[in-house]
């Protein structure tokens, strides 16, 4: 595998991207109503 990464690392990378996508809506002062409505 590339860069010495195993399958578990690729799974982690995908999950990291997904989690970051969700966090981008909730962290850092985004209006709470967005979070409230979104979930």
């Amino acid at each position: 595998m590339m860069f010495g990464l195993r399958r578990e690392h690729y799974i982690k990378i995908v999950l990291i991207i997904l989690m970051l996508a969700v966090i981008s809506f909730t962290a850092g002062g985004v209006p709470e109503r967005y979070v409230y409505g979104g979930f």
Binding site: F3, G4, L5, R6, H9, K12, I13, L15, I16, M19, L20, V22, I23, T26, A27, G28, G29, E32, R33, V35, Y36, F39
Partner: protein, 404 residues
């Protein structure tokens, strides 16, 4: 707590990650100490960094004296006790400024410390120290005094500052251990690799996700926008415990991931507390770094002190149980007061300590009679429900104050 959402934090971590890899001729603890000092200055301003450096230098001098007088028993005991007392006074001063209307504010010694802490320059110093969660720094100071007093090597002042206030542990711990920090000098930093990087970023992202997506949403689900946490029922306590778990576990994972990235020893703070096998076991899985701290600082010394004094024989069961109960209640009472200077928190600490002690005694007696012989697959879930249930029940005592 705000530094985790600042872009500066991400930049500082990235720069620190590169810098820790630079081969230098000084010990790793010193190199990290220097990087950490710059990180603190970037995150909290140079005033805060200077105050932290001054505290580290002062206590380095105290510890240096302690190492020099270790052969003179009376003198070393005096320095040892004075060092602990000074940390206690700093802690009280910090608390008096942080919680001015606390339940002990009217007591003469606390009042005097409170008045001093509100004067210039103490007030300015304490307000800067609040930025780096000084309650945690005090625990690390106690740990350093304990370890050096027990004969561990004394770090240099720069390394000591790196141990006392690691920039990524400032929002909410964990409480790192002095001996573990010393081990940095015996090992090389993890070789930079894509796998190590992904593993560390994974921990950090899981932490951010738990805190800023799961815990935040759960909080909003329970109390709505701008609402306060309901505190009336058992289920309010259960929901609050779950919320604190998600949030605190999130913070701890961020710190763990950054520690892993920078190859700085960072303790794990949570180990599946909801799978606890007893009420006592819950507290070995919840906020583990604080649990381990009180174990080595209070539980073992208190137990050894009373055992030496009372010299219980094997058949003197009551004596053994009493010693064990005191050794368990003292650390939990301390934990209660450490959280907040109120009678309610002290009562909560006592209640947890008494429950742990009672459970230990009951288990000891029932275990001998072989009453716990249910199949594991039945016993484990039941025991976990009982353990967490009891935690929630006792949490009711201080829920109103915890949820503020």
């Amino acid at each position: 707590m705000a530094i985790f959402v600042e872009m500066t934090f991400v930049v500082v971590v990235a720069i620190a990650y590169v810098l820790v890899q630079v081969p230098v001729s000084v010990p790793r603890t010193t190199w990290f100490g220097a990087i950490n000092f710059c990180a603190l200055a970037a995150l909290f301003g140079w005033h805060a960094a200077v105050v932290i450096a001054a505290i580290a230098l002062s206590y380095w001098l105290v510890l240096y004296v302690l190492t020099k007088v270790e052969n003179t028993r009376k003198l070393s005991t005096l320095v040892y006790v004075l060092a602990f007392v000074s940390v206690g006074l700093l802690f009280v001063g910090h608390k008096m400024l942080l919680e001015p209307g606390n339940d002990f504010a009217s007591w003469a010694p606390f009042k005097i410390v409170g008045i001093i802490s509100q004067q210039w320059p103490a007030a300015q110093v304490f307000s800067l120290l609040q930025l780096v969660a000084f309650s945690y720094v005090c625990l690390r100071l106690i740990d350093a005094i304990r370890a050096v007093g027990a004969g561990e090597r004394l770090l240099d002042p720069v390394s000591l500052a790196g141990f006392l206030v690691p920039f990524f542990m400032t929002p909410s711990g964990p409480i790192n251990e002095y001996e573990k920090h010393l081990e940095m000098d015996k090992t090389e930093p993890a070789t930079p690799s894509a796998a190590h990087f992904v593993d560390s970023i994974w921990l950090i992202t899981c932490g951010y996700f738990l805190k800023f997506a799961v815990a935040q949403s759960f909080g909003l689900f329970v109390h709505g926008i701008g609402g306060t946490w309901p505190v009336a029922t058992f289920w309010d306590s259960a929901a609050f415990l779950a919320y604190v778990f998600l949030e605190f576990c999130g913070y701890s994972l961020i710190a763990l991931g950054v520690g892993n990235l920078l190859s700085v020893p960072t303790p794990v703070n949570f180990n599946h507390p909801y799978l606890a096998t007893s009420f006592a076991d819950f507290w070995t899985r919840w906020h583990m770094s604080l649990g381990n701290f009180v174990k080595r600082t209070f539980y073992f010394p208190v137990r050894v002190w009373f055992t030496r004094r009372l010299k219980p024989a094997r058949h003197e069961v009551m004596k053994v149980h009493t010693i064990n109960a005191i050794a368990l209640i003292v650390p939990f009472a301390f934990v209660g007061l450490w959280h907040r200077f109120t009678w309610i928190f002290l009562l909560w600490g006592f209640a947890v300590g008494i429950a742990v002690a009672a459970e230990t005694i009951i288990k000891d007696h029932l275990g001998k009679k072989g009453l716990f012989s249910l199949p594991v697959w039945v016993a484990r879930p039941l025991v976990s429900i009982y353990s967490v249930g009891l935690v929630v029940l006792i949490l009711q005592i201080a829920l109103k104050d915890f949820a503020k």
